[in-house]
Symmetry: C2
Subunit: 105 residues, 2 copies
């Protein structure tokens, strides 16, 4: 679903990844991380899609909220597992959303 974010400015974390063939624990951890992220202060929304590559964009109130989420213990354990098991490569971009607009039929 398209995230219903407030008026800019706010922050986006663009996480682009390619997976390994290892499935064990991946889906449940991904689902759990979304649920956990939603509980964090400053969380504004998340959008995710995976075909050849996966793109997950999470939205945050400010850099402080992103830092706080990065330091979450369960998230840190999941990220370590991401490097050893689930991802062959990924890129993280932290970006300040300056403008947005939408269209609905």
């Amino acid at each position: 679903m398209i995230a219903q974010t407030p008026e800019p400015p706010y922050y986006a974390v663009i996480f682009t990844s390619e997976r390994t063939a290892l499935e064990e624990g991946y889906e449940e951890t991904a689902t759990r991380m979304v649920a956990l992220a939603k509980e964090q202060p400053g969380f504004l929304g998340v959008e995710s899609s995976r075909t050849e590559i996966g793109i997950t964009v999470s939205y945050w109130k400010d850099l402080e909220a992103i830092k706080h989420w990065k330091m979450n213990m369960e998230h840190s354990v999941a990220r370590a597992k991401g490097r050893t098991d689930w991802y062959s490569t990924f890129k993280v971009r932290i970006a300040k959303v300056e403008r947005d607009y939408e269209f609905e039929k």
Copy 2:
């Protein structure tokens, strides 16, 4: 493929969408738009994935490059067709990438 972008700062256009059931012309136009975007001044890369929602993130040198691309005639025609035919809803976010980091096995 994960886009090989230069050192920040640069800009990201995050385009998140939900499709209608209308297929006619969609795939060929999407492919053509990527090819056309790549020819534009200031284009840095693009990443795209579609499952329940589609997420396309294109990267640009600066706001001027984004504006120039938006004004491209063929792109404008395609965007109009997107509103009438291909998308039930979409959101566009323009964001300044301040930091990035990557991981490779």
